[in-house]
């Protein structure tokens, strides 16, 4: 697993220049101004780095190469989900740090923000990754845009609910649990897709 993650780190290091700037801007805006768009973008930008590694892997033929190396296919999938989870947690941490330092967030804001980021990130990965493993990054682009729009719409409703005082506290617990279940199911589905995947080439 470390080998595959290290490879992704090398890729991200080379493709993160402008992305790091975007991450910094949205993390700052999310922590200072709040708002769904900023929060979503602060989660999306680090995740996009993970997506970029998938695109490069498929384009370069690394996905096939890795499957001929002594890595199990499950491990190839696992490393991508671990990376995505790392990106989500990192974005939550960064936004929280800025929010606490700059805006002195209250505990409710801290939780609602973290939940919004985690739920959005987890669902985004959960829906897109199996599609990318199945159809490839290029062909999944349309789905990816549709998923993005759908999640933004659902997210805006969700965010207003989360920020309202009348929101039952159990929702704050239920939503992350639901997204963890979805994330796990997505991982298992991707493993199953990858196990049967054939690399017949162009």
């Amino acid at each position: 697993m470390m080998a595959l993650l290290l490879k992704d780190v090398f890729l991200m290091r080379r493709r993160s220049g402008i992305m790091l700037l975007a991450i910094a801007i949205f993390v700052f805006l999310s922590g200072v101004q709040g708002g769904l768009v900023n929060t979503v973008m602060a989660t999306m930008m680090p995740l996009m780095l993970g997506f970029t590694t998938l695109a490069y892997d498929q384009n370069d033929g690394w996905e096939a190469y890795a499957c001929a190396l002594p890595f199990s296919r499950k491990l190839v999938v696992q490393s991508k989900y671990v990376l995505a989870l790392g990106c989500i947690l990192l974005s939550i941490f960064l936004v929280l740090v800025i929010g606490l330092l700059a805006s002195r967030w209250e505990i409710h804001t801290v939780f609602s923000n973290a939940v919004t980021q985690f739920v959005f990130g987890a669902f985004f990965v959960s829906i897109n990754y199996p599609l990318i493993f199945k159809f490839g990054f290029e062909k999944s682009r349309l789905y990816y845009i549709l998923v993005m729009v759908a999640l933004m719409s659902i997210g805006s409703v969700l965010a207003s609910l989360l920020q309202s005082a009348s929101m039952p506290a159990f929702i704050l617990v239920l939503l992350p649990i639901a997204s963890i279940c979805c994330f796990t199911a997505s991982y298992l589905l991707s493993c199953s897709i990858m196990k049967k995947k054939e690399f017949s080439g162009s």
Binding site: M2, W62, Y65, F71, L75, E198, G201
Partner: protein, 283 residues
Amino acid sequence: MESAILCRKMKKTYGSFTLDIEDFKVATGTVHGLIGANGSGKTTTIKLLLGLLFPDSGELSVLGSSRIGNEAETRQHIGFIVDDASVPSLVTANELAAVLRRCYQHWDQGQYEMYLRQFQIDPKKQYRKYSKGMKVKLQLAVALSHHASLLILDEPTSGLDPLARDEIISILSEFSKDENHTILISSHITSDLEKLCDYVTFLEEGCIRFTEEKDELLETYRLGIVSHQMVADIDSDSIIAKREGSFQVELLLRTEDVPSFLESRRLSLEELIIFLSKGRSAV
């Protein structure tokens, strides 16, 4: 002799193409060449052997494993170069080594660096910036740096200049000296295979036409060149294949069937393959 690779009644269909291998063995300690035109099934065979494709039916065993696609442990002992599968374009040779030494149990960093020096590969340059030849050489360096006992190489010399091809053939030749080392190499550059291989398998339209010991194969046939009038003097049953030109006819005959009055010569592997694939229909 033990088999490093074994395929029996193996079928694989995708699209309109079907690979149908009745019986194919690569003995341990030998260099086995896979010859065939583009689209004959060489790459499909190699991808099946590396677990990148799964057979529809039949048996397949690589280093004793019948589930190579799902058995990562066996792949510790295999070095490979295969079409459409490559190292990440943005990593350098040094970074690649950092990844692969965490993947191969027997990664030999010294050997890898020795190959990088021998191939004059800049270890700090990104893979995408290498020439085609350099890319192949880097992949070969990887394949040779983890003490693999089996090399499965798909067209490793394709697109390379003669010097680079010769260098690669020499390295593979050196590797094959160890009796525990096996190489399966596909190529349509038959002159490379002629230098290197102990056995050759000829694939045509997804089927194996023959598997022969190379030297025996080249000794079995002779090329006779005769005028059109003289063809009638030769027993037609002994003509395996023929190619008619404007002034003369080239005949492929078994060595023992060559008449004493006929001048004949040994064929190169390339000539023989062309004759066997094209000339047979002309008899």
